[in-house]
């Protein structure tokens, strides 16, 4: 041990919350006797302002260079103590937090001696780790203010405007010859009973974009290559017109590539009969009817339709290619069908319209549009989920056969225009862009966001945001909101001028590394890059410190600051130094499992005291060799607890852990250890009862009670 190490141990009474259930002075005395400990103290309320002053004073007076706090839980109080340690002039990563309230005094209330013993063990484990702690530092990566927006629809234009309004440079790349995206192909947009010509919105926005001094627009242009990471992208674009290439320095990226209709070729006569069209084609007819003297629709002249009243019977079939085995609700079909039906009625009140639907998905205000549609005489026919309408063509007449649930009988509806409300898919450039940006998309070509609930416009990789219909089908208002939201997400690092990572990051030792590339492949945050010689290295500012790479590295040459193999091993060994056969060594993830442990504590759930828990940031950090080591030392059992699926603070860490634990069991069997003594569980931060029950059950199964 490094002789210069001087650990200070501060043990909290928490009033009577800890001191009432275990002998704190005895634990303090015990801590004083531990190797490396230069000072130990008892505090009535360690988190109080006066005690924090005393703590800072003690650090200076006793020249302490490691600090162990034994009190409540790091989940709530670690930032406070980190700050105090920092104020005392010590690197905050030299602090180790031991939880003796939630893990001891509140859960072993009637057993002061056993609780005292467990507290001693936990303090010993904390000191063992503290001795090996090293300084950490927040890592910064500079970020300039050039943002590239891919896609010039409403989402992309809105994002570009908000970015440019801050004085940042926005580069808008559109593959089409004009800005506007889908807005160029639809007639009008309805919201809250008002309708506006879509072209007006597109024109107004495009004018703002093109005249903005901070926005550079490239139309008819595609992206060829993207290299680098946040603050440091090199992007090559190519003009489709003259093949001219340009390379841009880009700091952040917004993906707004939009969506397209899935053409229902071969269904209901689509593609064979010009009278069978999609909603988008109907929109084009409506555009033609409303102002354009030259009909734009390929199948039917709008002018003709109006003047000769050629269209008399319109039937719309909703949920075409939606809500089936492979695809969900399209989110837009119901309001679109109602909007277009109303538009047709406005042109000619005599047109008979039937909308055939499964469920009407009309929210809040949209519901009132439905009322209006009904009062205008538009007929709604509800058909069964498993019995779609059948279209027949005889003697040149289109006829739709449908079972009406509400009437309870079959209907035959004549039609001279059949409109299919079809599902959507991502743009045709998605495959290419997802490869360039190293992000993922689902089978329909919609990009996958970082977190369905809390990261809706983020990608896992820092510096890339997602918005609009590129993520999933959205209406105009939602797309515009997402464009603004995505602008905010990429503006934060541009405004700050850097991205920052906490000190808990990975570090690869190149001398041991065999360049197998596993870490590069597995990193959920694309924080590992390969050099020209295939040597991986960590882009520290992008690393979140989950430790997945380190636990799986075959050469064990990746170190996680603050959670290194050595530090974790020291905790394992300290925990199992005495009476290992009575102990369960546990690894709990910081975000959920430890939350469940804390919840059991707050709820005062009593469970057996055999557990000795080691905190890791993610269950994916736990390497097989530490589990083996625990059994070598005679542990009664090992418990690994991560977040309940699908929650994981690091996207997929718990899945990685699950796979690895299967391997661990095989390895244990091979080495002659009983694999049933390794327990793997998933526990949410709210589920105190689950953790308490788990401990009870494990103690029972292992025969420890």
């Amino acid at each position: 041990m490094d002789e210069s190490v001087r650990v200070g141990v501060f043990i909290c009474d928490c009033g009577s919350n800890i001191a009432g259930f275990l002998n704190v002075p005895e634990v303090v005395e015990y801590a004083r006797g531990l190797k490396g400990v230069a000072f130990a103290d008892e505090g009535k309320w360690s988190c109080s302002v006066d005690y924090l002053a005393r703590l800072k004073e003690a650090i200076k007076q006793h020249q302490l260079n490691r600090v162990v706090i034994a009190s409540c839980t790091p989940r709530t109080h670690e930032p406070l103590f980190k700050q105090s340690v920092k104020e005392a002039g010590l690197n905050p990563y030299l602090l180790e937090f031991v939880s003796i309230r939630e893990q001891v005094s509140w859960v072993h209330m009637g057993q002061p001696e056993i609780a005292t013993q467990k507290a001693k063990d936990l303090v010993k484990m904390g000191v063992a780790k503290a001795i090996l702690l090293e300084e950490g530092e927040e890592v910064r990566l500079p970020v300039k203010t050039d943002c590239m927006i891919i896609g010039g629809g409403i989402a992309g234009m809105t994002a570009a405007l908000h970015i440019a309004d801050q004085g940042f440079r926005a580069v808008l790349v559109e593959k089409d010859v004009q800005l506007g995206g889908l807005l160029n192909r639809i007639c009008r947009v309805a919201h809250h009973h008002q309708t506006i010509p879509a072209s007006e919105i597109a024109r107004t926005k495009a004018a703002l974009v093109t005249s903005h001094p901070n926005i550079k627009v490239y139309t008819n242009t595609e992206i060829e290559t993207v290299q680098g990471y946040i603050g440091n992208y090199k992007v090559t674009i190519r003009s489709k017109e003259d093949n001219r290439r340009e390379t841009l320095d880009i700091s952040t990226i917004v993906v707004a590539t939009g969506m397209r209709e899935i053409e229902p070729v071969g269904q209901y006569g689509y593609g064979e009969d010009p009278r069978v069209i999609t909603q988008l084609q109907l929109e084009e007819i409506l555009i033609g009817m409303s102002k354009n003297p030259e009909p734009r629709a390929p199948c039917l002249s709008g002018r003709q339709a109006r003047s000769e009243l050629k269209i008399k019977d319109v039937v719309m079939i909703n949920c075409v290619n939606s809500k089936n085995q492979s695809r969900g609700c399209c989110n837009l079909g119901c309001p679109i069908s109602v909007k277009n039906a109303l538009a047709l009625k406005e042109i000619n009140r005599e047109i008979r319209i039937h909308i055939l639907y499964r469920d009407l998905s009309m929210v809040k205000e949209e519901h009132f549009d439905l009322d209006q549609a009904k009062s205008e005489g538009i007929k709604f026919v509800r058909f069964p989920d498993d019995r779609y309408p059948v279209v027949t063509r005889a003697n040149g007449n289109l006829s739709v056969h449908v079972h009406d649930i509400l009437l309870g009988r079959e209907l035959e509806i004549k039609s001279d225009l059949l409109v299919l409300t079809t599902a959507f898919q991502g743009d045709d450039t998605v495959e290419k862009i997802k490869g360039l940006l190293k992000v993922s998309a689902n089978s329909d070509g919609f990009f996958q966001e970082a977190h369905v609930k809390l990261g809706p416009v983020d990608f896992p990789s820092a510096g890339i945001a997602l918005c609009g219909c590129a993520k999933s089908p959205k209406n105009l208002k939602e797309s515009s909101e997402e464009g603004t939201a995505a602008a905010m997400r990429v503006s934060i690092p541009m405004k700050r001028g850097y991205v920052e990572a906490e000190g808990i990051v990975a570090d690869i030792d190149p001398t041991e590394c065999t360049r197998c590339g596993l870490c590069y492949k597995n990193c959920p945050f694309s924080a590992i890059q390969l050099g020209d010689d295939q040597q991986p290295s960590v882009i520290k500012a992008l690393c979140k410190g989950c430790g997945l790479c380190a636990a799986d590295c075959p050469k064990e040459c990746i170190t996680i600051v603050h959670y290194s193999d050595d530090q974790l091993l020291a905790q394992v060994e300290a925990a199992l130094e005495e009476k290992p056969g009575e102990k369960i060594l546990g690894f709990v993830c910081h975000w959920c499992a430890l939350g469940g442990v804390d919840m059991a504590g707050v709820s005062r759930l009593q469970y057996p005291p055999n557990g000795r828990l080691i905190r890791v940031m993610c269950s994916a950090r736990v390497p097989v060799k530490l589990i083996e080591r625990a059994f070598e030392l005679g542990a009664a059992g090992v418990l690994v607890v991560g977040c309940e699926f699908p929650t994981c603070h690091y996207i997929t860490g718990n899945y990685a852990c699950e796979n690895r634990m299967e391997r661990a069991k095989k390895k244990l069997t091979k080495r002659g250890f009983d694999p049933t003594r390794l327990w793997v569980a998933w526990c949410s931060a709210a589920d105190g009862p689950k953790f308490a029950a788990l401990m009870r059950e494990m103690v029972k199964q292992l025969g420890l009670s």
Binding site: C14, G15, S16, N17, K44, S48, R75, T76, P79, H162, H191, H192, I196, I201, T204, K323, G328, C329, D359, L360, S361, M362, V363, K364, E365, E366, H367, P384, I405, L406, G408, H451, V452, K453, L454, G455, P456, K477, E478, E481, E482, T484, A485, M488, R489, S491, K495, W591, G595, M599, V602, S603, P646, T647, S684, A685, A686, D687, G688, P689
Partner: protein, 451 residues
């Protein structure tokens, strides 16, 4: 002076908005009129369509926003007055007394244990949740401090056995309380955090923009609908959510109010009250997925429980929602297209018989269940009326805050510099709230101070 913004409402939208703006470098005042930030999401068990544990994903953000150096969180605080001058909003906030010194309270709950009076919890009352007169909002509360039911102090709860109820002296006149058990318990712990004599405090701030994130609330059940209020075992979907929450009053046990026994046959009625005189005239968007989630979790607790959802139009609008519905069907959840017309209770077993017309066949049918859950939908927050007056904002005909121009400038209001996000705009799910929160934060930080 650094530029500041005010965010009204500390639910997931307000928290997200505050995190974005503070990371951008702006001073943020995050105000909530309850004792803790967290909002609606803090009381949920799981979130659809992934079944992420709600508090697991929200609490880290609550702690994070609490530790942002440029965010000031003001709980138990209302916005009293707003005036615009010199391009700034001059805002008078009133921090209502919580009768506890937030700085000194460590959330140890010794006072909670000492308090002799429990009253049915506002939210969890029907399913057995009780709350002491001094209590903490929920285990992960931020700030992690207790608060006292104000009625405790004025003798109003004397009959219930409140310890200071018998005192003839107005608490505001005393600086020491020799009677109150919470005061004694706190002192015994070596702290002195209870402040029975604490009064409301005015706080004046100046901000360049304001974000309204005041959320949404459950629609009440129209009088005696499906026997709610008459029959013990008819509850709302929010009460059911609390039942299945491991952090709720039953620690996640799905037991029915009448006999505290596990329910083995449970039905949900969607659109409960929709179209009735006191029901909602519109679709609240999220209820179908909430019911789907609740059935899946119920099945995960105990696969043998029979679950039936009576619905009209399935709203599975978002990404992954349809797959979630399919998952429920795979797990054996029954979806019946029907709107029940009546419910009767067996006076002995307290089981419920639902009578309905099966839409698919037109037949009149009945079904017996042990627990009935009503999905009543979402309505504008109670706060909207008064806050609209204070902020000079317009409400729409339903009572939600009105956007000036939803198509050209979503989330902006009739007052320049005031923006909306989350449930303040209407029924909305969590991810949409987060999107709007990020968008509103962008607009709020971009607002120029112009005189």
């Amino acid at each position: 002076m650094t530029e500041s913004i005010l965010i009204i409402g500390g639910g997931i939208a307000g928290i997200n908005c505050a995190l974005n703006a503070s990371k951008y470098g702006i001073q943020v005042y995050l105000v909530d009129d309850t004792p803790s930030i967290g909002g609606m999401m803090a009381r949920l068990d799981k979130t659809f369509p992934t079944n992420d544990c709600s508090i697991c994903i929200e609490a880290p953000l609550m702690y994070e926003v609490n530790h942002q150096p440029n965010v000031e969180i003001l709980t138990n605080t209302e916005v009293r007055r707003v005036k615009k001058g010199n391009g700034l909003f001059k805002v008078r906030l009133v921090k209502r007394a919580r009768f506890v010194d937030e700085e000194k309270c460590t959330g140890c709950r010794a006072c909670v244990d000492a308090c002799p009076v429990s009253l049915p919890d506002q939210m969890d009352g029907k399913i057995g949740g009780m709350r002491k007169l001094i209590s903490i909002a929920f285990p992960q509360a931020v700030p992690n401090a207790v608060y006292i039911n104000p009625d405790c102090r004025f003798g109003k709860l004397r009959q219930k056995g409140a310890c200071v109820g018998g005192c003839v002296v107005d608490c505001s006149q005393c600086r020491e309380c020799p009677i109150a058990l919470c005061v004694a318990a706190c002192k015994k712990e070596g702290k002195d955090a209870v402040r029975l004599w604490q009064s409301n405090k005015n706080i004046d701030i100046e901000v360049k923009s304001i974000v309204v994130a005041t959320g949404i609330q459950d629609a009440p059940v129209p009088s005696a609908l499906y026997g709610y209020g008459l029959y013990d075992n008819v509850i709302t979907n929010t009460q059911f959510e609390r039942l299945m929450n491991a952090g709720g009053p039953t620690a996640g046990q799905i037991i029915r109010p009448s006999d505290q026994k596990h329910a083995h046959r449970i039905a949900w009625v969607q659109c409960a009250g929709r179209g009735l005189a006191n029901g909602l005239p519109y679709c609240s968007k999220v209820c179908c997925m909430i019911a789907t989630k609740q059935t899946i979790i119920t099945k995960e607790h105990d696969a043998s429980v029979e679950t039936t959802i009576f619905y009209n139009d399935l709203k599975a609008y978002g990404k992954g929602f349809w797959g979630f519905y399919q998952k429920a069907i795979e797990k054996g959840v029954r979806y019946v297209k029907a709107r029940p017309y009546d419910v009767f209770e067996d006076p002995i077993t307290k089981d419920l018989t639902i009578r309905y017309e099966d839409l698919m066949t037109g037949e009149l049918k009945k079904e017996e269940v042990e627990l009935l859950v009503l999905s009543t939908g979402l309505i504008p927050s109670d706060r909207n009326q008064s806050l609209a007056k204070v902020l000079n904002l317009e409400l729409d005909h339903l009572g939600f805050f009105k956007e000036k121009d939803p198509l050209f400038a979503p989330l902006e209001t009739n007052v320049e510099g005031i923006y909306l996000c989350g449930g303040a705009t209407g029924p909305i799910d969590i991810s949409e709230s987060v999107v709007q929160a990020s968008a509103a934060s962008m607009k709020a930080v971009l607002t120029k101070e112009v005189s």
